[in-house]
Symmetry: D2
Subunit: 404 residues, 4 copies
C-alpha cells in the first residue's frame, strides 16, 4: 500500500511536469479546476479523511481546509467553485510543500501496520487522486484550447496506422444477470450493491464509433435535423451553435489535442461528444446507446487493458483488428443509455464520504470503460462514471448498441 | 366517439367558465401557457393531425398554424414559447370560433363511419386535450398566485373531515413482472411496449404523504440540512430561497388553492413539491421514492378512481380509511425514483407525432397516478407523466417506498 | 380646470377605443406597461397625490395602492414592474370604474373653488396622464409588433406627398442665454430653475433626418463600421444584431406602424432610433447632435405646433417646405448631445413627488420636441424628456447640429 | 525623453516586484486585467503605435498583436476581455522578454534625434503606461481581496497621526472661465479644446470626505433609505446587497488594503465608492458633488502634489492641516457631477488612436485629481478620468460642493 501510495501520488506530479505555475493557475470554466487546485485538493482529501481521524492532527493551514474542500457540505463551507482560478496564493511551491507534508504523514501511518479501515480510506484517497489525474488532463486541455495560441501539453505521440475494423454487432447476454461490484477489490459506493438486472435481447458494436463515421453524420446534416435530437439537445445545439465535436476545427479536418492542433485520425474513435451528440448519432445510425448493464455484462468477461493513461498517448487511437469486442477499456468513455441513479439497495458511505457519489444522482448519464486519460489500475468493469448530458470536455464518445 | 369528442371538447370550455378574456390571456412563466393558448393549441392539434390529412382542407388561418404549434419542429417553425402571453390577437372570441370551426369539421368526419386510423388520431387528440385541461388548471393557478390579490378560480369546495389514516407499508410483488400498456384501450407511445421488469423486494406506503407529515420535515429543519438533498436540489433550495412547498404561505398555516388562500388541511396530501423536495423528504423519513415499475405493478390491480378532476374539488383531499392501498389515483401526481427514459424496444409514433413524447426523455422524472386535476377517463395504470426535477406548479406529491 | 381635467381624462379612454380587454392586458417587455395598467396608474396618481390629502379619503381598494404605484419608494413597496402584465384582476371593467370613482372625487374638489396647491397638483396629474397617453401608444405599438400577425391599432391615416425639403444649417444664438422654464405655466421640476448657459458657435439643421437619409447610412454599411459608434453602442449592435431602426423590416422597404406594416415614406423623419444610432448617424454625416441648450434656444422662438398627437396621424410625417426651422415640435423626439442631469440649483418637488424626475438623473440622455404621440398642450420649449441610450420603442429620431 | 521612457517602463516592473507569476496571471472580474496582461499590453501599445510605423518592423509574434490589443476595433479583432486571465502562455518570462524587445527598439529610435511626432507618440505611450500602472495596482488589490487569505501586496506603510481638519467650504470662481488643456505639455484628446465654461455661484469643501464622516452615513441608515439614492443606485444597492464601501469589513472597523486587512483610519479619505454612493452621501450631507469645471478652476491654481503613487503609501492618507484647499491631487479620485462627454469642438486623435477616449463618452462620470496610485508626473489640472457609476474598485472618493 505504501508503494502504491507513493506511486500514485508521484504520478500526479509527473503529469504536471511540463506545466508552469501559470499553466497550473488557470481555470477556463466553472466545470474545470486549475491544476494547482487539483494538486491541493487531492492532498486535502487525505488530510481530511485520513489524517484528521487523529485528534492530535495539526492541519498545515486551517484556511486551506476551506479553500480545498470541493463539495462536502457536511464538513463546512467551501470556496466557490467558479473562483478557484483566483487563488494565486498559496503558491504552487506552497502547494507542493503541502503535498509533501501530507505524504509524509500518510506514509508514517502506513508504516505502522495499518488497520483495514485506514487501508480502505487510503485506497479511496488514491482512487480519488486518480480521478483528479484524469480531470487535470481534461481541464488543462480545455484551458489550452481557450488560448488562441493553442499550446501543446506534450509532444506528438507516435501513431500506428491500422486498417479500419469493420463494424459488427455482437449479441449480448439475455435474461437475469448480476452487475455491480462483487466485493473483490476496491469499488466506489455507487457500484454497489451487486444486484440482479434483467437484460433484454440486444447486441453491442465490436468497436467504438470512429471519426470517419461521425464525419458522415456531420456532413449529411446531422446538426441541422431536429428530428434526430432530444429536445434539450436540439436547444443546446441552437443556443451554442454546435456543428461538430468540441475540439474539431470548423474545417472538419483538424482537432485540438494535448499535442496541439492535429489532423483528424480517420479511424480513431470520435471524442469529446456530449450525450446529446452521442444519442443523436446513434439515432441517425439506426441504433441506440447500450445500457450500462448491457455494457457491464460484456465487459465483465474482458481484462482491463487498452489505450489508457499508462500508454502516455493521451488521445484515442484506432482499433486494432480482432474478432473480439474491442476498445471496451480506454480510448473514450462510452455514453450509455442509463441515467445515473442508485442501484437497488444502495447505501452511501457513512459520514461526509456519503457525499462522494450519491448526491449527484440526478440529471446525469452513466459513462463506462475509461479513456486514454484513465489510469489502468483505476478501472474495473463495474466502474460508473457520470456527467451531465451537455458535458463535452471529457474524453467521451460512444459504442453503438441495438435491440435484437 | 362523436359523443366522447363533444364531451371532452365541451369540458375544456366548462373549465374556463369563470375566467375572463383577461384571465385567459396571461402567461405567468415560460413553463405555463395562457388559457386562450391552450384553447387554440388543442384545436390546432386536431387541425394538424386529423383535418389536414385531407389535402383539400383549408386552415382557418395559415398564420395560426405557426402561432399554435407547440414544439413540433418537423412541422415547421413556431411562436416562441415564452411569448405566448403576448398574443392578444386572435381574440378569445376568435379562438372560440376556431374551436367551433374545428369541432364541426371533426364531427363531420366522425359522422361518416370513421376508419381505425381516424379514430385513433381523434382519440389521441382527446387525450392531448385532456392533458391540456390539467395544464390549464395548473397554469391559471400559478398565474393567479402571481397576482397579489390572490384571486379564486372557483368557490371553496366542501371538505369532509377524515380521521388520519395511519401509515403502513404494504409489500409489493417481487421478481419479473410485466409493465407497460397491454394494448387494450388507448395509450401513449411512451407507455409501450409492454415488457418485463425485475422487481426487487420492496413495499409501498398505503397512502400519500400528508401536510402534517411534511410540516414536521419543514419544522425540523429539512430545508436547512444539505445532507438530505441531492446536490442540484440543494443548489436550487439556496438559489430560490425555498423553505416550504410552492403555494404554502410563510406562516406554514395557509396555502394558495384554486379557491384562493385556505388553511392547510392537516391530513390532506402535501402538494406542489419538486422532485428534489419529494426525494429529500423520503430520505429524511428513512424511506425512498417508489420506482415506476413498483408503482405500476401495485396500481394495475386497482380500478381508476379517486379524487380526480371529475369530483370538481381541484385540491388534494385527505385519505379516507380502509386497509387497501389508498390514493393511487388522483389527489397528486406521485414522483417516482425513475428517470423518464424509453422502455426497451420503444418506438415513437411515426411522423411528426413521434415528437410527442420521445424527445423529452432526458433530464425528467416519471410521475404516476394522476391528480385532482386529471380527468378520470384519461388515466390508466400504465400512464407516465414526466417533469423536470425543479417543477413545482403541477399537483405533485409523493408516496413513500422502501426496500425489504 | 374642471373642463381640462375631464378632457384629458376622456382623451385617455378615447385612445383605448379600438383596443380589447386582451390588448390592454399585455406587457411586451419590462420597459413597457399594459394599457390597463396605464389606465389604473394614472388614476392612482390622482388618488395618491390629490385625493389622499384629505385624511377622510377612502381608497377604492387598499391593495390597488400597491399594484398601481409605479416607482414611489417613499410611499411604500410596489408591484414588480416586469409583472404588470400578469394582473388579469382587477378587470378592465373594474379599472374603468376606478377611473370614474377617482374622476368623480376630483371633479367634486374642483367644483369648490380649488386653492392654488390643489390646482397645481391636478395639473401635475394631468401632465402625468398625458405622458402616459404617449406611453400607452408606444407600448401597444411594441406589443402589437411582437405579435406575428402584426395587428393595426388604427386605420391608415391619409398622407400628403411633399417634395423633399433640402437640408440647411441655420446658425443658432451664441454666448450666454437663459434656458429652463420661466415660471409661466406648468413645468416639471426638472425644467427648473431657469438659468444661464453658455452657447458656443453652432448651427442646427432646418429639419429632421429622413428615412431616405438614414437608408443611405444603412446601405453604406453604417451598422458594420465600429468607428462610427460609441463603444457601448457597438457592443449593443453586435449583441442585439441591429441592422436598421427598430420597426423596419429586413427588406429596408417597410416598417411597422400603428396602422400595421406600411411602406417606408422616403422623406418622413426616421424614427425609433436609439441614442447610439442617432449619434452614429450624426458622426457618419460629419455632424453632431445638438445640445439641449442649443435646441431650446432655437425652439423658444417658435410656437408649439406640428404633427402631434392631436392630428391623429400617430406616425412621423414629411416636412412641409418653408425657410424656417421645421419640425421642432412633434413627429419624433430629438435625441440631444446632453446627458440628463440637473440644472444648476435644481430642487426636486417636496415629498414623494420629488421622486418624479430627479432620481433618474443618471445614465439617460435628453430628448426634445415631442412626437406624433405627444399631446400639443403637454409640450413647451423647456420640456425635457429622457431615455437610456439603448431605448428605441419611443418615437425617437434626430436633427443634426454642427459647430461653426 | 529616453530617460523618461526608461524610468516609466522600469517603474512598471518595480510595481510587480513582490508579485509571482501566479499573482500576475489572475483576472478577478471582466473589468480588471491580469498583471501580466498589463505588462504585455503596454508593450503592444508601443509596438503598435510607435514601432509599427516603420514598414520594416517585425513584430515579436504576430499572434500577440491579437492577444494584447485592448479595444482598438480599427486595428483588428482582439482577444475577449473576460478571458485575459486564461492566457498562461505567453509566460511571464516571455512577456518580460517582449518588454525588453520593445524597449530596445524604442530606445534605438529615441537615440536618433526623434522628430516631434515620434516624441508625441512615445509620450502618449508613457502616459498610457502610467494609466496601466494604476490599473495594475487596483486590479491586483481586487484580485487579492477575492482570495479568502487576503494576501498583502506590500508591507504596511508608516502612518502619521493627524488631527482632523475641520470641514470648510471655500467659494469658487464665478462667471465664464476657461478649462481644458492649454497646450503646454502633454494632454489626452479628451482634455481639449480649451474652452469657456460658465460657472454658477458655488463653493467646494477644503478637503475630502473622511471615513468617520462616511461611517456616520452608514450608521444612520444611509444604505437603507431609498430617498437618498438615484434610482439606478438604489437598484444596485438592493441587487448587490451593498452596505458599506467596497473593501470595508462588515464590522465597519477594518478594510482591505494593499497591505492586507487594516483598521479603518478615522480621518483618512473614504475610498472605493461608486458614483451612486458618492452622490447619495452628498445628498445626505445636504451638499452635492462638484462639477468638473468647478473642480478644474480650483485645481488650476494649485501645483500637482500630494499622496500620489510616488509616496509608495498606496492608500489614502488623512489631510494635514492648512487653510488652503487640501487633497486636490492624490489620495482618491473625486467623483464629479459631470457626465463624461466631449468638450465643445472636441476632435479625437486621428486614426486608431481616436478610439482611445472618445468612444467611451456615454454612461460614465468624470473623476478628477488622481489617487494614491497615480504617478505624480502623470497628473495635471485638466486631467479627466472616467468610470461607470457602479465602479468601485478604483481609489475613488469625493469632495463636497455646494451652491451659493
Ligand atoms: Fe475531489
Ligand atoms: Fe400540446
Ligand atoms: Fe407614472
Ligand atoms: Fe490600454
Amino acid at each position: 500500500m505504501a508503494a502504491r501510495f507513493s506511486g500514485v501520488r508521484r504520478r500526479t506530479l509527473d503529469l504536471c511536469a511540463g506545466l508552469s505555475a501559470e499553466d497550473l493557475q488557470i481555470q477556463s470554466m466553472p466545470d474545470a479546476s486549475p491544476g494547482k487546485w487539483h494538486l491541493a485538493h487531492t492532498s486535502w482529501f487525505f488530510e481530511q479523511f485520513v489524517l484528521a481521524r487523529d485528534p492530535a492532527w495539526r492541519p498545515r493551514d486551517e484556511a486551506w481546509l476551506y479553500l480545498f474542500n470541493s463539495y462536502y457540505q457536511s464538513i463546512g463551507p467551501m470556496h466557490a467553485r467558479p473562483q478557484r482560478g483566483l487563488l494565486s496564493r498559496p503558491s504552487l511551491d506552497e502547494v507542493l510543500a503541502y503535498r509533501r507534508y501530507v505524504d509524509d504523514a500518510v506514509c508514517q501511518l502506513l508504516a505502522n501496520e495499518p488497520d483495514a479501515e485506514l487501508t480502505t480510506l487510503v485506497e479511496l484517497g488514491l482512487q480519488h487522486e486518480q480521478q483528479h489525474q484524469e480531470l487535470l488532463l481534461t481541464d488543462i486541455k480545455h484551458a489550452f484550447w481557450c488560448n488562441p495560441l493553442r499550446p501543446a501539453y506534450h509532444a506528438v505521440p507516435a501513431t500506428e496506422a491500422h486498417a479500419p475494423v469493420p463494424l459488427r454487432f455482437i449479441p449480448g447476454r439475455e435474461g437475469i444477470v448480476e452487475i455491480g461490484n462483487d466485493g473483490k477489490g476496491f469499488a466506489f459506493d455507487n457500484e454497489t450493491p451487486r444486484h440482479r438486472e434483467l437484460l433484454h435481447p440486444h447486441a453491442l458494436a465490436n468497436r467504438l464509433v470512429t471519426n470517419t463515421e461521425y464525419l458522415a453524420f456531420v456532413r449529411e446534416g446531422g446538426y441541422r435535423e431536429p428530428g434526430l435530437w432530444l429536445s434539450d439537445g436540439w436547444a443546446t445545439v441552437q443556443r451554442e451553435g454546435w456543428g461538430h465535436p468540441l475540439y474539431w476545427d470548423d474545417d472538419l479536418a483538424n482537432e485540438f489535442t494535448l499535442a496541439g492542433m492535429q489532423a483528424l485520425v480517420p479511424h480513431a474513435p470520435v471524442c469529446h461528444l456530449s450525450y446529446y451528440e452521442a444519442d443523436a448519432f446513434a439515432r441517425w445510425a439506426g441504433a441506440r446507446l447500450p445500457t450500462e448493464a448491457e455494457w457491464e455484462s460484456a465487459a465483465a468477461q474482458v481484462a482491463v487493458a487498452g489505450n489508457l493513461q499508462d500508454t502516455g498517448r493521451l488521445q484515442p487511437a484506432s482499433a486494432a483488428g480482432g474478432d473480439d469486442m474491442l476498445q471496451l477499456y480506454g480510448d473514450v468513455w462510452e455514453w450509455t443509455a442509463s441515467p445515473y441513479i442508485s442501484y437497488p439497495g444502495f447505501r452511501p458511505l457513512p459520514g461526509s464520504l456519503g457525499e462522494y457519489n450519491g448526491k449527484f444522482m440526478c440529471g446525469q448519464w452513466v459513462l463506462r470503460g475509461g479513456s486514454c486519460a484513465t489510469p489502468r489500475d483505476h478501472l474495473r468493469a463495474s466502474y460508473r462514471n457520470f456527467f451531465p448530458p451537455h458535458a463535452r470536455w471529457q474524453f467521451s464518445g460512444l459504442r453503438l448498441g441495438q435491440d435484437r
